[in-house]
Point group: D2
Amino acid sequence: MQIGLIGLGKMGGNMAERLRRDGHQVVGFDRSPSAPRDVDSLQGLVAALQAPRVVWVMVPSGEPTRATIADLGDVLEPGDVIIDGGNSRYTDDQAHAAALIEKGVKFLDCGVSGGVWGLTEGYALMVGGDAETVALAQPIFDSLKPTEGGFVHAGAVGAGHFTKMVHNGIEYGIMQAYGEGYELLKAVDLVERPDEVMASWQQGTVIRSWLLDLLVRALDSDPGLAKIRAYAQDSGEGRWTIEAAIQNAVPLPVITAALFARFASRQDESVAMKVVAALRNQFGGHAVGHEGSTAPVPVS
Amino acid sequence: MQIGLIGLGKMGGNMAERLRRDGHQVVGFDRSPSAPRDVDSLQGLVAALQAPRVVWVMVPSGEPTRATIADLGDVLEPGDVIIDGGNSRYTDDQAHAAALIEKGVKFLDCGVSGGVWGLTEGYALMVGGDAETVALAQPIFDSLKPTEGGFVHAGAVGAGHFTKMVHNGIEYGIMQAYGEGYELLKAVDLVERPDEVMASWQQGTVIRSWLLDLLVRALDSDPGLAKIRAYAQDSGEGRWTIEAAIQNAVPLPVITAALFARFASRQDESVAMKVVAALRNQFGGHAVGHEGSTAPVPVS
Amino acid sequence: MQIGLIGLGKMGGNMAERLRRDGHQVVGFDRSPSAPRDVDSLQGLVAALQAPRVVWVMVPSGEPTRATIADLGDVLEPGDVIIDGGNSRYTDDQAHAAALIEKGVKFLDCGVSGGVWGLTEGYALMVGGDAETVALAQPIFDSLKPTEGGFVHAGAVGAGHFTKMVHNGIEYGIMQAYGEGYELLKAVDLVERPDEVMASWQQGTVIRSWLLDLLVRALDSDPGLAKIRAYAQDSGEGRWTIEAAIQNAVPLPVITAALFARFASRQDESVAMKVVAALRNQFGGHAVGHEGSTAPVPVS
Amino acid sequence: MQIGLIGLGKMGGNMAERLRRDGHQVVGFDRSPSAPRDVDSLQGLVAALQAPRVVWVMVPSGEPTRATIADLGDVLEPGDVIIDGGNSRYTDDQAHAAALIEKGVKFLDCGVSGGVWGLTEGYALMVGGDAETVALAQPIFDSLKPTEGGFVHAGAVGAGHFTKMVHNGIEYGIMQAYGEGYELLKAVDLVERPDEVMASWQQGTVIRSWLLDLLVRALDSDPGLAKIRAYAQDSGEGRWTIEAAIQNAVPLPVITAALFARFASRQDESVAMKVVAALRNQFGGHAVGHEGSTAPVPVS
């Protein structure tokens, strides 16, 4: 079928390629003239597609996505469909759908996982919206997703991005779990070959996973992780997961600990720990002479 | 090759079966006369094996393993090898090796992962001990492990169980991460099909794993996990992981949070939370009338 | 000086009393006719006060406060001052100030701590707003606050409630710390008199505090906390603290753990822990016979 | 009464001074000849005291305390009493008592809090042992403790140090709670005077405490804590608290988070976070061009 695709970066470009390989006609647009775009304006995009049009938006979340969807709403016709495949917050989806419904334009949100492997292995898709609109776009989803599984219609508008958000929260927790385990292995002399341990865990263990496979790849190219900095960014989705949990009174100790570990990794120094250090100084100096020894008696 | 195997429960029995399928001669012993044992005493076991003997101990960790290894030390001969394949604490291994070395008996510790699937898929093995002894037992390891990978000689005596212990700590963190994510999905009306979400994540996502596959199996047999109690035991290995981390000053926030969540799941009520509730009562009753409303003004 | 006070519940009523004792003329209003109000409408309140008027709003946060401030904005005159002494979110303050500035009405936010003890001991006050307006209301603050200290002009509009919010976050952490310690004392037979331990800590220790004094009061009236349920509500301020931390990438592991412990205390059962229990069942039953013992070999 | 006191460092010296001020005859010994000791050997100490002797040991925990108590056991007579006032682990107490009982020497363990303020304000004392022996030493305890309160006979041998250990665990949690709150205040521009906020909290608030008083002292001498490093040691007692909790299946999320924050403060870089960073690189580079923007589309 025909599809418009806005945003031809690494993700969008690969998705366009996967759709074309499966026989779809993709009309690509990107704000940048240097991108391999098929049309040079949203108007051109609309003109190139037959109604009812399906337009996939694959641009950064937040303002770029909001602006793109608003502009699309001005040029599309009743019955057309916008799919937001970016990393929008689920609350944005609900605002988008409400604004578009007045123009008769339909809206789906689609969380996408898979990264650079998606082109060949397929993208995991989590979709929110009404069943009729989902059905209309199903051929697109079927081509993007892996051969088996990897697709869910999770619920109404917003459910797709909510689900993807939770996926990323889980991802934070799992990554941190492997990180903590590897750190403990490396902390003791007893374990002489921590990298080999991680590699051996890829088969037969309870904790084998795709993330473990990736970690072993990383260790192969950087043994002992000697070269990489202990500095981890976080995308919005980890934060939104905690915020959603707080709003629903759901305790998420593991996912939150993982997020906070990333925050801490980016601090030059912890102000909280300055407080702790200052307090320790206050209540005794913590370096107290005694009985011919240089070791302190903690005096708290 | 020949091997003695002590402990013919579900794990030991399956391992004996996998070894026999691969051509080894297994002489099995179990303290229980009702087990399908080949000999009826440790002396019988020793007599049935040619020196240098390799005896695999697969009994519960702690006192049963300690007693078995002590008894074996009395009947084995210099040059024989004991492999502790149970879930012993790594500190036990070092004590065992030290006691046995005086008798000329060699010792390996081997952490084993794989559960009931091990029979067909192979067991992941993490081994501690000296290289020469490991080489002597390698044919056994090669038959037990999966076709590819799943084996590591992690370091000296104790390194095998230490590594398996860390494996289990990571497992705690990953399981809790999935649990938290699923709980958040179920907490919001927006996500209408949380079980289908989990199933869809098995392909194409960053968080696909064997544990996720198991979770989907569990959801298939108990949709919404309506039937199972929110009550989780912990084995010693999670606790030992935290203790080892504390001794090495390694922060493990995620793995520890996962362990504590299990502790909490087994409490009828939290004494700590009684304190919090009592304190809230003390500083204001937290139910304060005002301006014609029934809602309280928190007064802290 | 003169002051209008809206909201004559336990907090507002006590504050009015403390102000009158110190010589101020308080004109009280409450939406409820049964409250001991001095006027029966906002118009009556305005008429009873000389310009420039200072009106203290002490009603529940959220919609009641928003409605009261909006209504006041309609009846006050340029140069008058509204002080929000409730538990509003700091983001509300900034919206209120922006709306009122167009009418020439000034706004201060004031976080108040002290609970039922405030009447006699004074209320701790944390104020946000411009210095000129703070100075205008200073006589009121001086009468409400304790004899010494207990007052801070923390910053611009919103800083008062932000500061009070953080105060409450810290309070969560401290309460949980005492709770955990008391739980551990009670968990071991070795400590025969945990209530006496808590009482003894009130003097001479590093951890003596007002909250500890309150806890000892609670233990005096309910030894062993046998009667109180392990169920703790949370007000908005703990949640907002975490949300503010997330927005500023500040790790708050202790305060967050304390909030999550409250969430967990209100759950009948943890869905996350159902997942963990279900997974444990999947990978081996965790009840494996062996060598004549009834104890299971964990088989992960 | 008479008392022998071993260990004349800052703590021991101050305690000797407080006892002498209250009329006791203190015979001080220290291994170091440069200390102001009254006798120059344990034999001299024994000779200078009338039976039944009470000897207070105030030396570093671990080997120094163990050696001192063993040596004392050799020179004391049946009916004499040893009080370990240091920071020993409660498990050591039980070993000491068992060894001494064979010689007829009695043993008490006494956790001491108060730091450098103890000399004038009194020391909080937490005592373990049998009631008869506690009664024998009560005059000493009465002189060391604050005028009111500050003393508890917590239970049998070990209960004193166990209780002090838990005290320190709580202390960790409270210190971290203040630290986190201060960090959040400093992280936002809205709060212009975070040091003044802390100072104002000393009166009238729910969170007023001695530790807060100390923190304000620290801020007075180092505004904004600009000079102190974010580096916090931990004594054994925090670690032992977590280990005791794990052995008793008590969840301590707040105290553990506080301990881990100290561990993290001493790391040059977190190996766990290297893993997280490496994984993020693996699944997409996290720097993905798109639609004319330099911002990345996270591609997980």
